[in-house]
C-alpha cells in the first residue's frame, strides 16, 4: 500500500510536467493540424537556459527564490521568442503546403535545436547547483517533498488558468474559432496569423516552465533531454485526444501515474527480471494501445460539424 501511495504521488508530479508539455503539442495541433515535433526541444532549451541562470546567480550568492523566479523568467522569454520565430520562419511559409512538408520541417527544427544546444552547452550532462533543500512531508506512509508539492501545485495552477483562458476570454474564443474555421474567423475580424503566433508563444512559455521543473526535479540537464520528454508528452496528448486541451491535462497525469506504477511494480511482477529502468516501455505501450483501440483519444472529438 505504501508503494502504491508513493508511486501515485510520484506519478502525479511527473504527470503534471508531462501535461504542461503536452499542452504545447495539443494547442498547436488544434489550431494548425501540425505535430510540432520541435516542442520537446523548446522545453529542453528552456531547461538549459534556466540551468545556466541558476548556475550564474547561485554562485553570486543571490537568494534562492529570486534565482528561481529569474531562471523561470529568462526561460519563458527565450522560449517564447524561439516559438515565435520558429512559427514565422519554418511553419508559416508552409501553411498551405501538403501536410507532410511541415511535419518533416518540424523534425528538422527539432534536430537544429538539439545540435545548437550541443554547440552552446556541450554534450555532457550539466548538474544543477545545490539551490534548495526540500523537506519531506509524510502522506499516508509515503513521502512527498516540498519540491514535488510545489511543482504539482504550480502545474495545476497554470493548467487551470489556461483552461479558463481558452474557455472564457476573448482571445481564447478567437483561438477556438480559428481552430474550427480560420477563413470565417478572419471574417469576424480575427487576425488569424496573430492568433496562431500567440498559440506558439503560449505553448512555448508553458514548455519553458516545464523545462525548469524538470531541471529542479532531476537536478540535471542535457541537450538531448527534450527528445524523450517530447515523445512522452506527445503520447500524453494523444492519450487525452490530440487537439483537446482538457485531454492533454488528463492524458499527462494519467501517463505519469501509469509510468510510476509500472516502474514501482515491474520488479515484483516479473520476478526481478525487469527493473524500473524499463519504465519507458510503458509510455509507448500506452501510445500503441491508444492508437489501436481509440485513436481519437480519451476526450477526442468525433466532429460536431453538420453544416
Amino acid at each position: 500500500m505504501e508503494i502504491f501511495t508513493q508511486q501515485l504521488i510520484n506519478g502525479l508530479v511527473l504527470g503534471s510536467i508531462y501535461a504542461l508539455v503536452a499542452l504545447g503539442y495539443t494547442m498547436v495541433y488544434g489550431i494548425l493540424g501540425l505535430i510540432n515535433f520541435a516542442h520537446g526541444d523548446i522545453t529542453m532549451i528552456g531547461a538549459l537556459v534556466a540551468l545556466t541562470v541558476v548556475q550564474a546567480l547561485a554562485a553570486a550568492g543571490v537568494p534562492a527564490p529570486l534565482v528561481l523566479v529569474l531562471a523561470g523568467g529568462c526561460a519563458i522569454l527565450v522560449c517564447s521568442l524561439l516559438g515565435l520565430s520558429i512559427e514565422r520562419v519554418a511553419y508559416r511559409p508552409l501553411r498551405r503546403a501538403p501536410r507532410l512538408a511541415p511535419l518533416i520541417t518540424a523534425i528538422g527544427v527539432s534536430i537544429l535545436l538539439q545540435y545548437s544546444a550541443a554547440l552552446i552547452w556541450g554534450k555532457q550532462y550539466i548538474a544543477l547547483p545545490k539551490l534548495i533543500e526540500p523537506a519531506a512531508i509524510n502522506i499516508g506512509g509515503a513521502q512527498m517533498t516540498t519540491l514535488q508539492l510545489a511543482i504539482f501545485v504550480l502545474a495545476c495552477a497554470i493548467m487551470a488558468v489556461l483552461l479558463w483562458f481558452i474557455k472564457a476570454s476573448r482571445m481564447g474564443r478567437a483561438m477556438r474559432a480559428t481552430e474550427q474555421n480560420p477563413d470565417v474567423a478572419g471574417l469576424m475580424g480575427v487576425n488569424t496569423n496573430a492568433v496562431i503566433a500567440f498559440t506558439f508563444v503560449l505553448g512555448s512559455a508553458i514548455g519553458a516552465v516545464a523545462g525548469l521543473m524538470v531541471v529542479l526535479y532531476y537536478g540535471i540537464g542535457h541537450y538531448f533531454m527534450g527528445f524523450m520528454l517530447g515523445l512522452k508528452a506527445f503520447t500524453a496528448a494523444v492519450l487525452g485526444g490530440i487537439g483537446n486541451v482538457g485531454g492533454a491535462v488528463m492524458g499527462g497525469l494519467l501517463l505519469g501515474i501509469i509510468e510510476s506504477m509500472a516502474s514501482g511494480y515491474i520488479g515484483d511482477l516479473t520476478g526481478g527480471v525487469l527493473g524500473s529502468n524499463y519504465r519507458d516501455i510503458f509510455a509507448f505501450l500506452v501510445l500503441v494501445l491508444v492508437l489501436v483501440i481509440k485513436p481519437s483519444g480519451l476526450m477526442g472529438q468525433a466532429g460536431g460539424d453538420r453544416a
Binding site: 474564443r173 478567437a174 477556438r176 474559432a177 474555421n181 477563413d183 469576424m188 480575427v190 487576425n191 472529438q301
Partner: protein
C-alpha cells in the same frame, strides 16, 4: 470614384491556380441599396464575393470601399470598416455555442453595453436562437445555422452586408423566414449585396441586379427590368 458609392469594383479578376474564375467584373453598390448578383452554378458569384470581403486576393482590378482603395486588404481589416460577409454554407463555428458564435460576430467591438443590446436584438429577431443559446452550433438545423450566421454578421454592425446563397439547402418555409429577415435588415439601413441561385426571390427582394455568366457580368439593370427581360426569364426563371 463616383459619389454615393459604398462599394465600387473595377476590372476584378480572380484566379484559382491557373483557372480564371472571375474575368473582369465591374460592379457598384450605393449606400442604402439592395443589390442582387444572380447566375448559374460556377458563374463566379461566390468567388466575386470572397474577393470583395478580402478572403481571396484579386489577380487584378481594384476595390474601393467608402471611397478608399482596399484592394488586397485582408478580411479581418475590412470587417473593421463595416464590410461583413455571411459565407456560403453558413460557416458557423460548430463547436462553439450559439452565444459564443454571436460573441465572435462582435469580436471587433468594445462597446459592451451596446453588444448586450445587440444580443437581445438578434434573439428577438430569431427566437429559436434564444432558446438554443447554450447549445453547440453544430447541433442546429440548417435553417437555424443560417439564422445564426446572419445574426452573427449583424453583431459586427455592418454597413455593407454580403450574403452568399442564404436560401441554399433550406425548406421553403425557412427560405421565406430568412428573406423576411433580410428585408428587415435592409429596412434598418444596412446596404446589401445578395448572391442567390433563386433568381426570382432575389430580384423580388432587391432593387437592382447583376447577372453573371462564366466569370463576367453580362447584364445589369433594375430588378423589375431584369424580371421582365426575356433572357433572364428563359435562363434563370425557368420560363
Amino acid at each position: 470614384m463616383s459619389r454615393g458609392k459604398l462599394l465600387e469594383v473595377r476590372g476584378l479578376e480572380v484566379a484559382y491556380g491557373g483557372i480564371r474564375a472571375v474575368q473582369g467584373v465591374d460592379l457598384a453598390v450605393a449606400a442604402g441599396e439592395i443589390v442582387a448578383l444572380i447566375g448559374a452554378n460556377g458563374a463566379g458569384k461566390t468567388t466575386t464575393l470572397k474577393a470583395l470581403c478580402g478572403l481571396l486576393r484579386p489577380k487584378s482590378g481594384s476595390l474601393h470601399y467608402e471611397g478608399a482603395d482596399v484592394t488586397g486588404k485582408p478580411a479581418y481589416h475590412l470587417v473593421r470598416k463595416g464590410l461583413s460577409l455571411v459565407p456560403e454554407g453558413r460557416g458557423v463555428f460548430p463547436l462553439l455555442t450559439v452565444a459564443e458564435n454571436l460573441a465572435m460576430g462582435a469580436y471587433i467591438r468594445n462597446d459592451h453595453d451596446a453588444i448586450r443590446n445587440d444580443f437581445d436584438r438578434v434573439y428577438a429577431l430569431f427566437a429559436r436562437l434564444a432558446e438554443r443559446r447554450n447549445q453547440l452550433a453544430g447541433t442546429l438545423s440548417g435553417g437555424e445555422q443560417q439564422m445564426l450566421a446572419i445574426g452573427r454578421a449583424m453583431m459586427s454592425r455592418p454597413r455593407l452586408l454580403l450574403l452568399d446563397e442564404p436560401s441554399m439547402g433550406l425548406a421553403p418555409l425557412m427560405v421565406q423566414k430568412i428573406f423576411e429577415t433580410v428585408r428587415a435588415i435592409a429596412a434598418e439601413g444596412v446596404t446589401l449585396l445578395l448572391v442567390e441561385q433563386n433568381a426570382r426571390l432575389a430580384l423580388e427582394t432587391c432593387s437592382r441586379g447583376y447577372v453573371m455568366e462564366s466569370g463576367r457580368v453580362v447584364l445589369e439593370d433594375s430588378a423589375a427590368a431584369l424580371l421582365a427581360s426575356p433572357r433572364v426569364r428563359q435562363a434563370y426563371l425557368g420560363e
